[in-house]
Symmetry: C2
Subunit: 329 residues, 2 copies
């Protein structure tokens, strides 16, 4: 900065960091210069010298999924309390992108990281955490000592959904699911099986799992469409979608193919209970996850850890919200 403001660098630094220690008139003079020149301290140099920082990074799977943005909102709300800031990035469930962003966040010395891990490889995360960057897993339980986590019991969620459909009297469940390499997908499937077995049935007879091309509306639409084509144009009687976006896509598919009757005649259960679930053509039965609280809790754990607090694993319980889409017509 124009040290030509008449003072030394140390004084300018003091004006920024300990204004009270500078004589009022000097402070004013410096401040004026700062304003006039639009001087902004170099964050890199600053951080290089100090080490600490107030930014928290969050790495989500998909920025367009309301589930994640709701969680992010919870994170922000907690961070704001302590005047910390949040930077988001989305990995798209691509381990390479994940690694890239983790490195980036680490290089920039974030205070800590909230991560929804891609697939299952938590190796980089463990390493990262070992290197002293506090990491809190989001939407995934942690098995690494010292690493806190916030998750939802996905097995229970899958069970809730399947039990509901079975209780409605459906004999089969078509499960539009993602790859089992994604923990949530695998766990929800396990829950489905548990519900089936609890009724003395065999999952092999009852559950027809169909792998999704992508975990969004387009994926749901296409995947269900292909299924219907492969089954002589008949739609499944009951569908469980691994998330609400997929369910929206499934409804879209049914509407395109058979109009509203087909939509109302097919039972659908989604997952996440996104904001618009209740407003859909067929109000969607869904498994609700406490998104905002998850984010809030995760941020809380992270700040706690960064301050030397305890490790904790919070597991939230999902909840079934029944609406018209799954009721026998």
């Amino acid at each position: 900065m124009a040290r030509a403001a008449g003072v030394s660098v140390g004084t300018v630094s003091n004006v920024f960091n300990r204004p009270d220690v500078v004589a009022p008139e000097t402070r004013d003079r410096v401040q004026t210069a700062i304003d006039e020149l639009g001087f902004v301290r170099n964050g890199s140099a600053r951080q290089l010298r100090r080490g600490s920082i107030t930014t928290v990074g969050a790495l989500l799977l998909d920025i367009r999924n309301p589930f994640f943005t709701d969680v992010a909102r919870g994170v922000e709300d907690r961070l704001t309390l302590d005047d910390h800031t949040l930077m988001l990035a989305s990995s798209d469930d691509d381990p390479e992108r994940e690694a890239k962003y983790l490195r980036l966040f680490e290089e920039h010395g974030v205070l800590g990281l909230l991560v929804v891990p891609t697939s299952r490889s938590t190796e980089h995360l463990v390493a990262l955490h070992g290197r002293g960057v506090p990491v809190v897993l989001l939407d995934a339980p942690s098995s690494t000592p010292g690493m806190s986590s916030v998750s939802v019991d996905d097995v229970a969620g899958g069970e809730l959904a399947a039990a509901h459909l079975l209780d409605q009297g459906f004999a089969t469940i078509t499960f539009l699911n993602g790859p089992h390499s994604i923990r949530q997908c695998e766990a929800r499937r396990a829950g489905v099986d548990r519900a089936v077995r609890a009724r003395g049935l065999d999952p092999a007879d009852v559950v027809h799992e169909v792998p999704l091309a992508s975990l969004d509306a387009v994926g749901g639409d296409q995947t269900l469409g292909a299924w219907i084509d492969a089954h002589g144009g008949a739609a499944p009687e009951a569908i469980f979608c691994v998330n609400d976006l997929v369910a929206v896509g499934a409804q879209r598919c049914l509407r395109k193919r058979g109009g509203n009757e087909l939509v109302t005649g097919t039972a659908i259960v989604g997952y996440d209970d996104i904001d618009v679930a209740a407003e859909l053509a067929q109000p969607l039965t869904s498994v609700r996850q406490p998104t905002h609280e998850m984010g809030y809790e995760a941020a809380d754990l992270l700040l706690g850890r960064a301050a030397g607090g305890p490790v904790r694993h919070t597991i939230f319980q999902p909840e079934l919200v029944v609406r018209a889409s799954s009721l026998r017509s």
Copy 2:
């Protein structure tokens, strides 16, 4: 790093930055040490020394609005081509938060910034831009020399929506709008008025603007509810919502109060054409904005600017997508 890997710092640096200049065996030895120690270069020091960086920052208004996340997606898709990375933050239309994040991004020396400005104060932005951080305005036209922008003709959008409702034969339009301090809100209102005048009518007679508490579903629900209460329980004949989330809230309000008949009996037009608009109970007529392209174009302009390219102002045209919600029943 354990320079005790047997070499000097300079060599380690070379291994990272110009591997070809290091003897293969030395390189391997260093690489092994790097892997074993999980060494990560200090980004702050690195950037302090080099100046440049590959991260682009984007400051959006609301991370939970699909409009913005779709735009963000377009940004990411463009940045990925050049191997740049994106960091997001959301200002919540709070100038203070905006300023905070702008400073943060600047301090960390981002390559450039994509900003959806809050309210109208582009002052900090101009200053920032003047200081050499390329800024591209998103969803707002720029009047600052040297600053590119990507926006959509909101006046045309408002006109499209209002013209459609008037053409359907409605005599009045209830416009659930945000504060005019938000440029988009003001512009859409201007468009509405233009459509009204074009038909030889007086906006004062035709348009009833109701200010929203918040620009989301909760805001739409509450605001419309209050309006209905204030009008003896009667719903408006035709509603124009400043965005689709608000429209979803309006439908929710109508459903709560009068069931589906009330929803189907009230014309609603939204704005943004979010992904689920077609899947709602009343498929929503909406003004579509080319979100993905906007983001892509903005990122493209930014990278172009950063490389000394030209200033450009891209203005996209909105498009009306007619669905059941606005058709006379």
